[in-house]
Structure formats: C-alpha cells, structure tokens
Symmetry: C3
Subunit: 345 residues, 3 copies
C-alpha cells in the first residue's frame, strides 16, 4: 500500500465531522479528524463551532471546557474563547493579546451531517458540499449509522467499497449472494471519482432483504454508485425488482425495493477511521420496523467488513514491505487512488 | 513544553523514594525513580538499602529476590549481595570477583520519608535533605498520601502547583472557590526556588473546609508556599480565619483553621510521576475524623488535577510541535523551569 | 544480551510449528513463526501445508480463509490457492497469472510434531529432522505441553535450560531441591550443541516426584541432556533411583523413576516464543494419573520459569545498555550462543 497515501489526507475538501445530534447545545464534542483534535460545540445561535481542541495557553484540551453564552471556556486556567477562536478573557489580565487565539475550522451543517473543512479556510466553498439530501428528504427514511474503525486506514475501507466482488465472500450469507464475485461491473472514470454499475439479472434475493421484500422469486437487482474522491463519499442507488419486470430498462414496478445509501469515511488517524452511513428506503415510509431492520442488516454486514479490513490492516502493519498484486476487480480502486495521489500534491 | 526539561531529571538532589511504611522488614519494595529501577529493603539494623533492581549476572530483577540477614539474594541463580551492593556469594565459586557488584544509592530516612540521592554518591550531603518535620511533629496531625500519575511528566504537575489560579476552575466546588483566579499572588524568586503568597480577604470559606471549620461567615484566608526546585517539593502554610480578626497582620485567633502541607514530586519516567503528600492540621489534634476528612477532601481535589493534567499530557504527546503561550499567571512556573534548566547543566 | 542474536533467527533448520492435533482437517491454524505469519492446514490427503498468511492480492490473512478440497480460498475477494501456493482461481479472470502465488514452506509431520523449514526450501533436508520418538514410542508415555511466552526472546529461555543451577532458587519447592546450585555439571561441547551431565548422589527426592516415586529415602539422581543449537531443542534423559543401587554405574533398578523430556523453542518474534514440550516416563505406562501428575508438576515449574524470564526480559528491554557479567555456571550457554552466532552468518 502506498505509504504517502495512507499517511497524508486530502485537507482541502469537506469531510463529515459528526452527525448533527452528536453536538448537543451546551456541550462540547471531541473528535479527532484527519489527525487533528477538534472540539465541536454550538454557539448562542446554535451554529456549530469547530475549534482546535487545545488551549493556546498550556495545551489543555478545550473539550474539557465549558460553553458560556456561545463562547468556550478552558476549565484549566479559565481562558475564554469566542466562536472565532479569539481569547476574550484571561484571569488577571485586562486585555488578552491577539497571540491568544485558537484555530477554528469552517463548518456547514446540512442533511444531518456536520461538514468540516480541515484545509485552508479561504478555499472552503460551501458550493462544494456533497449532496446527501436523502438523509432529510421526506420521500426517504433512514437511521443515522456510525462505525468506528479503531485500526484501519480509510483507504482500505474505500478499497472495499470500490470492489463489490467481496460481497460473495465476506457477506455470503448477509449482504452478498453467491454470484456477486462474477458480476463484471461497468466502471466510469471521472476526475472527481468513479461511477460503478452492477446488474444481477435473474438472481436470488440477497439474504439481508428476506424480511423486507414484498415479493418472492427471482429478482433483477442493481447497485449504481458514485465515489467522490475528495470527500471519501459513496452515494448509491440500489434495489431489487421481480425478475423480467423491466428494471434494467428503467421501469421500476411498485413492489420493488429501492434504496439510496450515503456512506462517508473521515480519516481519524493514519490507522483509524470514522464511518458515517445511512441506507434509506423509499417504500413503506411509515413502517419503522422496516427502517430498523434495514439498518440492523447493514450493520451486521459492516461488522463483517470491519473484521476483515482490520485483519488486513494488521498484516500490512506487520509486514510493511509486502507487495500487493493487481487483478481486474481492482480497476475502480486503482483509479481513485490515483486521483487521491493528485489531490495530495 | 521544553523537551530537554521533560526528558532529563535533576539527579544530584534528594528525592522522595517512598513512605517509610512501604519498605517493610524482610521484604523488597520495587520502584522506578528518575527512570531507574530501584530495589528498596531494610538491612539487619533496619536501615534502608537502595540497590539497582537488576542482578549484574543476567539482569534478573533483584526485587524478585529474598532478604537474608540484611543481604539480598537474587532468586534466579542465587547470587547474594551485601548492603554495599558487593556480591558475597556465587554458587560454584569460592570468591566472587569485584566485577560482581550492583550499584547502590545513598538513602536517608527522615520525617516518614525515605529520601534517595540518584546522582553522584559523593555529593550526597545529608544537610541538604529538605525539612518535612510537620509529618512527625506532635503539634501536627496528617495522613500520608500518595498519587500515582501514570501518564504525566512531573513538570506539568509542578506547573499546576505553581499557579493556583486553576483552583477556581479545576476545583470550583472542592478546594477552590470562585475568586481564586482573580487573586494576584506575590511571587518571590530565589536561587533555590520560589515563594508564593496569596491572600483572600473577606472571602467565602472554601468548600473543602465545610465539615472542618469551627466557625461560619466570611473568612480571611491565605496560602504561603515555597517550591524547592531541586527536590520538587512544596512546603505550604495555609489557613482560614474569621474575617477581620487580624490574620493578615499575623494575629491568628484560636478558632482559625491552620494547615501545613508537604508535597513532593518524584519523576518515575518522562511520562509518569510519584506524588507524595500530607496536609497537616494543628487544631483538634485528637480528632481523627478531622484528619481523615481533610485527607479525603484533598484527595478528591488531587483527582481533579490528575484528570486535567493527564489530559493535557496526552495533548502534548499527540501534538509535539504545539506551542504554549504565556500569561501573567505563569510567572512562578517560568522562574522554576529556568532554575531546573540550570540544575540540569 | 547480543542484539544481533535476539533479533535474527536461524532459518535454515527445522523448527516445531505446531502439535499435530492443532492442525485439524478442514480448518486453518494461524501461527507466527520466526517473525513470519504462517497459515497451516491439511490438504486433501491430510498432508500439512504451510503458507504465508497473507493473500498476494490485497494482503488479507489467508487464515481467515476456507479449505476447499485441499486448496485454500481467501475469503476477502475469493482467490483460491493450491497446496503449492499457486493461485488457481480468481473471480472474473480466466487464467490467473504466475505472479499470483503465495510462498509455502517445507513441512514434515513426525513424532507428533509438525516441523517447518523457514529458510531456503532447497536446503530442507528431512534427514535433519531431530529425533523426538519418545513422544510416540509405546515404551513411553507423555502429554503434549505448550507454553506461550508472550514477552521473552527464545534465547533467555534457552539460557535458563542450559544452566540448571537455577533449579535450587526458581524451583526450590517444585522441580528443584536445595543442592541444585552446587552441582558442577560436566559440559561437553560439540559443533551441533552441548551435552550437560548432572549427578546428585545421596540427595533428597525432588519435590515434584513426591506422588510419583515408588520408593522413599535418599536417591541418586541425574539429568543428562543435549541441546541442539539449530533447532533450539532439548533432549533429556533423567531419573531418580534409590541411593547406592548403582545408577551412576549404569545399573538402574526396576523401582527407579526414569524420564525422557523433549523441549523445543520456536521463536515467534524477537520478544515472544512458542515452547513445546513433553516429559515422558517409561514406568507404570498404563497409569494415566502418573502421566497427568508429571505433566502438572512440570507445568507448575515452567510457570515459575516464565515469571522470572519475562521479568528479566522486561529489565533488558527497559535498560538496553545494561551489561551482563559471566560466572562459571554460564559455560554451556556461552558455547551455544557462539554456535548460534555462527549459524546466523
């Protein structure tokens, strides 16, 4: 695995810092993002502030601090910082100097995600925030998901998502299905990422839909997803329809199961990753049991991935000189790794 | 934080190695002191011996050994060392050679402390042992205390002790009191350390004295302490008297609460520290509940310090290039860090 | 301790990889051997295959794979490897290229041991497999034993086995006996290792034989063992006979207790070791309680060794510049360390 890629991160891009509900009014949420410790809290207007999580005085963590009228007080020696990071109060000091300032990061709250820009603040263009509207659109239902990879670089998780041939092995009895490995996907390469299209005609219903699907018998099913390299974000349209009812031609019958999944990887460190996800359905919107069942099934599958990927990461750490060898199924991941290499320049 | 200061220790000085009761007759007490592993035991006369905790033969730890008539036997291959560190018995060998010697360290047992000199033995002057007589003086009562900082360099704890403005934040509801941060201390600089004088006139009784004080209403209270840089030792006179009864002028009324605290930091490693302390009172000497209550209250406060300081240490380890920025409250700690820098030369 | 010796391993030699029963048909047994991760499984004929435990594709561990008709399938992306390590199946690929090959290691299964040759395969001569026939010979009975040293280099365990003077201290109340340290062994040096002969005439029965021996009173007892440097293997004839019944002259009376022990060290990493052992008896062959009692007693003793040796290893790691000093009892271990130094060239 390319060391340069694993130890650096694309900073001039929007990353998911947190789910909206993780940053509660009056509290400070600490999270390491792209190797930097960040304290997240809401100001007096409820707007999220992201501040480097160490006081500029003696480096105590600000996440042990206290929110006071939208400002953040360090609870070691009492310095008080406003939402811009400027220190506005120091015990025994009339006027805090400019040097007492903590770095803040641009933040956008949208689609239940709190997006953060860890690079140059002046390049933080809100027009670049990726679309994740399925998470709030009333035409869809989903439950916010989170997986903490304590021991894997984000690229290994990305590799996994860019090659679904693993579904037939890692997820044989859950998300997968026996023919996953044989499907040759259509790969479309873009400068922003890649689009992967997989069609399984006349296939079995995948195991995770057993309790969800409203029909039985052979299915035509599909996965069409885009990977956005700068944001490490997957946006996937997928579904299963009764076989030969026209799904490949774009005719989706009402009893089909149609989904949209958003999955975002935010590097925590070189060997750990935050994984935010939803798996939304657009049918039986008022059936909370369906929403829960889907989230549970996906979570089981993601647990299978995590076990394999963290084992793979351990091998890579233990044998830093071991070489990987390419196969055709690596096409998409090779393209995206090249894009990331360029974004790091 | 200055790396040179954190990774080196002042060796030519007396450090507290242990409480007297920790070294029991016939047993070996192992402790890492200034990065060195030391085996402590009592010889035939009860005098404490401090020996490097590794046999000179195959480096087995002597603290797994056995005390035999004041000598220490390694229980791996049976070498026997006398209190000078000289090997006096080797199986299958008539006369052990001089090369079989383990380094020992000068030790003084006084005021319930076992003091050790980790530097050049010929410079170990017992006249330099700091005064801690309050720990044995019948005019005072205290309970020996010990806190193990598993994850903090001693300098961070020293910084904490040299700037009591943190009392209003870290200890707001325990040792502190709201006005602690606003008190401007008097700082007297010496070549051996610093004296800090803090007076809080017409203040509230600090929370930790709620059950101890024999009066109610506003108080005049004080903290006057010396920090001895070479020994990392704090010696503090403190107390609370009913307001306007003359305490600032030196007239202490009988119902006042007067204390003397001795606190000693002994570096264990670059990131861990032994913290020995007492908080003696000179009133109600036969009221053991008072002695216990004071020790309990101080221990709660020291737990608050430890949580903050170890969090601060973690930030410093994770972000080694982060810079601290000075404020007026740092005056005493800056002076002592300079002294330590000179002692390390 | 010589760093070169501890961080390198003799690779062109047979090492014990596992007990035969550890590699079950249809399952994969993962073990780190000489710093390399190895996946062990049985092919269609039951023959053990040893393969590097990482898929050549994306480095996933093959020990998470699945045995299919004697081949091993990686359960990440489905590559299938035959017992020679050649990949014979890749999803979406007609003919896997030669580059998709995983390294395998020569293996011999004999005397209940699975031997592995971690060096150059062409030098793997089965005639060099050490003799351990006591483990299968119907004239002897033993129970396979295993100790995992999580935190000790194999050389420290070897040192322990090459100097039995420690029996009187580490094992005073178990395997030892008070006079162990005073016995001067006869040391015979060979280019393959060393033979150590120890006789204890008119001695007490060692404590671990209390329930096993069929006689009481003073004993003549012996330990005669060979250490094979390339294989880290001890092969020991030992026993206790009633004193003055001719044992030293080779006349072993029927009530004597005679044993043969095989003990093999396989480095796992520079600081961890696999320890395989048996302690066979050739009397009361059908008394399973005797076999069990002996294994239990030896295991207690080996626990005492492990506690001391891992403590010694910690001292060495913490104080890398500390020097050892030789005594006469080190004679055998010095010879074998020299041999190992030559084998590493």
């Amino acid at each position: 695995m390319d060391d340069v890629l694993t130890e650096q991160f694309v900073r001039n891009a929007w990353s998911v810092a947190a789910w909206d509900f993780e940053v509660e009014p009056g509290k400070v949420h600490a999270r390491r993002i792209l190797g930097e410790d960040v304290a997240l809290y809401r100001d007096a207007q409820g707007k999220v502030v992201a501040m480097v999580d160490r006081c500029c005085h003696r480096l105590a963590p600000l996440s042990r601090g206290q929110v006071e009228a939208g400002n953040l007080r360090c609870m070691y020696h009492g310095l008080l910082f406003d939402p811009s990071g400027r220190c506005i109060e120091v015990p025994q000091m009339a006027k805090p100097p400019r040097a007492l300032t903590v770095r803040t990061f641009p933040v956008v709250e949208r689609d239940r995600y709190i997006w953060i820009w860890m690079g140059d603040a002046e390049r933080a263009d809100t027009a670049l925030v990726p679309d994740a509207h399925w998470q709030v659109d009333p035409a869809w239902r989903s439950i916010p998901g989170y997986v903490h990879y304590e021991a894997a670089n984000y690229l290994l998780i990305m590799d996994n998502l860019l090659d679904f041939s693993h579904l037939g092995f890692v997820h044989a009895t859950t998300l997968g299905g026996g023919r996953s490995a044989d499907i040759k996907p259509k790969i479309e390469r873009f400068d922003w990422g890649v689009r992967v299209t997989r069609w399984y005609l006349n296939d079995d219903l995948p195991p995770f839909l057993a309790k969800v699907a409203r029909f039985r018998g052979p299915v035509d099913r599909w996965q069409v997803y885009e990977w956005h390299a700068a944001n490490n974000l997957l946006s996937m349209d997928s579904g299963s329809a009764p076989a030969r009812t026209g799904a490949p031609e774009g005719h989706i019958v009402p009893e089909a199961c149609v989904f949209h999944s958003v999955q975002s990887l935010t590097p925590e460190s070189a060997t750990s990753t935050h994984y935010f996800w939803t798996f939304a359905h657009n049918f039986e919107l008022d059936n909370a049991a369906i929403t829960r069942e889907l989230a549970d099934q996906i979570e089981i599958g993601f647990g299978e991935d995590k076990a394999m990927i963290q084992a793979q990461q351990q091998v890579i750490l233990d044998h830093p000189h071991a070489k990987m060898t390419g196969i055709p199924a690596d096409a998409a991941l090779h393209h995206v790794r090249q894009l990331i290499g360029k974004l790091l320049v």
